[in-house]
């Protein structure tokens, strides 16, 4: 890997921003807290279900703690034409529902929607 300088760092950032990401992004909170609450199990179920429904254009983003200690594990679903939704208390059953109901049938999984606590400071420029 070539070392970056100021300009190439900026170019890299611009390139990263332009590059199209998958049409479905699933963010899973995998801090110590999320892992302890079973987030890894949720990821396994999600991957299995995505395969079953032949969804390939997706990305699972393994993030740190999202801050919702009271309803771990958490999965945030970002996809085109659907509101961005954060789900809480995602056990294996809910993980399956997220794929079948939200991703395939485009319906929200009732009872597990969590509110985003604060706006993104980088988006509020």
């Amino acid at each position: 890997m070539k070392k970056l300088d100021k300009d190439s760092l900026k170019k890299l950032r611009d390139k990263l921003r332009r590059s199209s990401r998958s049409s479905i992004i699933l963010r899973v909170g995998l801090g110590t807290c999320g892992i302890a609450a079973g987030a890894e199990d949720a990821v396994k179920v999600i991957e299995k279900e995505l395969k079953k429904h032949d969804i390939k254009d997706y990305e699972i983003q393994r993030t740190g703690c999202m801050g919702y200690c009271y309803c771990e594990p958490n999965v945030e679903v970002l996809m085109k034409d659907m509101p961005t939704i954060i789900y809480g208390n995602v056990d294996e059953g809910i993980a399956k529902k997220i794929v079948v109901k939200h991703l395939v049938h485009r319906k929200l999984v009732d009872g597990h929607v969590v509110d985003r606590p604060a706006p993104d400071i980088w988006e509020k420029q």
Partner: protein, 597 residues
């Protein structure tokens, strides 16, 4: 494929609105209305887990468009369904408009949430193990800006203008620390990141490092450039294996990109970061003890001055900053110190991350602007006290902090106000307590912690802590005499004045602040041998109410110490001398025939 529904609406599940309507009723009314108007394939309405502005409730967020309806009542439902979902015209007059917040100034005040995520900006958003994720979100842009456009003095000026103060507890101005270290004589100089987080109930730094390690690395490089250091250490406890793994990965990735290491970003500035693992002693969060630990000695503090900025690691100038303090730096550099200073209140600028735990409904890792009231934190963000119990006090600052009673719920949280109340900001643990918590029991818990963690170097801390704990133990077991309270005060004052380091000086804080606000509970324990929260085992008595007891014998079977006597079908009795107060009989009884208190 497009979305199934045209609209998605999320209703907040707050308990009830002013008219006593629960959001359940509102939800059902919406469902009926949607059915009646034949819009069931246009909109999906779901119940959310939590929206935050409960006094504005019930709330409904409609996507797309992020429209937020508040104060929903049965009256306005049909209009919203008809016009918004039926005719695509949001009903403006029912939409929530954020009011200007008192006490708190915010740069973007057009949102309804109480939280503001600056330190946690990337936590839960990026993959901490992918440097590209960080770079995409302005990562290392601050470092590039500093190296190419700013002199070290410019950086110090910017941090000064920001008014950033240390987030580790004491609140010392960061720019001063940087300036002193920059001006101190001696080469090389060091930057140390204090990630030795050890208060019970605190996990802010762990979450930050696990979720966004690069922000701390970037800030350390900026600090290194500013004070003239080429080496940085992160002192982190070995109990945080995931944070360590992610930090090491982040350092390797940053070095590969030339963002750490030799000739950063093609300039002649070089900066290296290494981890130093601590074995988890609480005292090692104290800066001189931390330095001793990095040097390979036993983690014990030494008197200051000289301060570490003059004589620190290997007796050379060292600047020690907390994880959260550092995580603020890149944003300050990119957005300006002035922008940062516009957030917060009084002399406390910016935000504070809290690990909100205890008896709240929604525990969580939260970040609020300085100056937010405790009421907002506990009742809006935390969703109130579990089980509808009464809020009694909040504990901030862990074993070095104190209690804030219910009367002071509306005090804005900042450094000055907390110290006026006899507590401290601390690193950010915030534990809510309800009527079932006994203040003596809580103080005992913290004292036990501090006594265990005392390094033993100075007598006031080593002996004083033990004595304080001894008196608390006597009080909670009903053996104390009325002089105990005076003794607690005298020992506490001595410890505050004579202890060598912050650990000993702050050990009495939980005792003093609980005495300040809950002295009646202390006297109740001492004079009446009564614990109103029923927590102090030795003061609690279990009794069988003979009129309720049918003599089923369940308690007798369950009792591990054969303290229950009585014949079948006749009222039983507890022999107090034999009772070990385990509560098994109370749990076993199906006829509410056992009382305790």
């Amino acid at each position: 494929m497009t979305s199934y529904y045209k609209y998605y609406a999320i209703i907040c599940p707050c308990e009830e609105d002013c008219s006593g309507r629960t959001s359940e009723e509102i939800y059902e009314a919406f469902m009926r209305e949607v059915d009646e108007q034949g819009l069931e394939d246009t909109v999906q309405i779901v119940m959310g887990e939590c929206e935050q502005v409960t006094e504005k409730g019930p709330l409904m967020k409609v996507e797309p468009g992020e429209h937020l309806y508040h104060n929903l009542s049965l009256k306005n439902i049909s209009k919203i369904v008809r016009e918004h979902f039926g005719q695509d015209k949001p009903v403006k007059k029912y939409l929530y408009e954020p009011p200007a917040k008192e006490n708190i100034r915010l740069p973007d005040s057009d949102f309804y949430q109480s939280q503001f995520r600056l330190v946690l900006r990337n936590c839960g958003v990026i993959d901490p193990e992918k440097i590209d994720d960080y770079i995409e979100r302005e990562g290392y842009a601050a470092l590039a800006k500093v190296l190419s456009e700013m002199s070290p003095d410019d950086v110090i000026e910017e941090v000064k203008e920001a008014g950033l103060r240390g987030r580790g507890g004491a609140g010392f101005p960061t720019w001063m620390k940087w300036k002193f270290t920059r001006q101190a004589e001696g080469e090389p100089k060091y930057i140390i990141c204090n990630a030795d987080e050890g208060d019970p109930g605190a996990y802010m730094d762990r979450s930050t490092l696990e979720g966004d390690p690069h922000s701390v690395l970037e800030a350390m490089a900026i600090a290194g450039y500013t004070i003239g250091a080429e080496q940085g250490y992160i002192y982190i406890r070995a109990e945080y294996p995931l944070a360590i793994k992610r930090l090491n990965k982040a350092i390797a990735q940053a070095e590969e990109y030339g963002l750490l290491g030799e000739n950063i970003l093609g300039t002649d500035f070089s900066f290296h970061i290494e981890l130093r693992l601590g074995a988890g002693a609480f005292v090692c969060g104290e800066e001189t003890a931390l330095i001793a630990s990095i040097e390979g000695d036993r983690g014990m503090p030494r008197p200051r001055p000289p301060f570490p900025s003059v004589k620190g690691l290997w007796n050379l100038p060292s600047c020690i900053n907390n994880v959260e303090t550092l995580a603020n730096i890149p944003v300050i550099m990119l957005r300006s110190g002035k922008w940062f200073a516009s957030i917060g209140s009084g002399d406390s600028k910016g935000t504070k991350v809290f690990a909100l735990t205890g008896k709240v409904n929604n525990s969580g890792l939260i970040e609020v602007p300085m100056g937010t009231s405790l009421r907002e934190v506990i009742f809006n963000i935390g969703g109130g006290i579990k089980g509808g119990k009464k809020f009694k006090a909040a504990q901030t600052g862990g074993p070095s902090g104190g209690m804030i009673p219910a009367e002071d719920l509306d005090t804005p949280i900042d450094y000055e106000n907390l110290s006026k109340l006899g507590s401290i900001m601390g690193s950010g643990g915030l534990i809510a307590m309800d009527e079932d918590d006994c203040m003596i029991d809580v103080s005992k818990f913290y004292l036990q912690f501090s006594v265990d963690e005392s390094c033993g170097k100075c007598a006031p801390c080593r002996i004083g802590g033990q004595q304080l704990f001894g008196y608390l133990d006597k009080i909670s077991s009903g053996l104390a005499t009325p002089t105990a309270i005076d003794r607690l005060r005298t020992i506490s004052e001595t410890m505050q004045k004579a202890s060598l380091c912050g650990l000993g000086q702050s050990t009495p804080n939980p005792v003093l602040s609980s005495l300040k606000y809950f002295e009646d509970e202390y006297t109740e324990h001492i004079d009446e041998k009564h614990c109103r929260a029923k927590k102090c085992r030795d003061l609690v008595r279990y009794n069988i109410l003979s009129e309720q007891c049918i003599g089923c014998g369940l308690c007798k079977v369950r009792c591990p110490s054969d303290a229950v006597i009585g014949e079948k079908r006749k009222p039983h009795e507890i022999i107090q001398e034999k009772c070990i107060k385990c509560g098994e009989c109370y749990k076993a009884c199906k006829f509410d025939a056992i009382s305790f208190g």
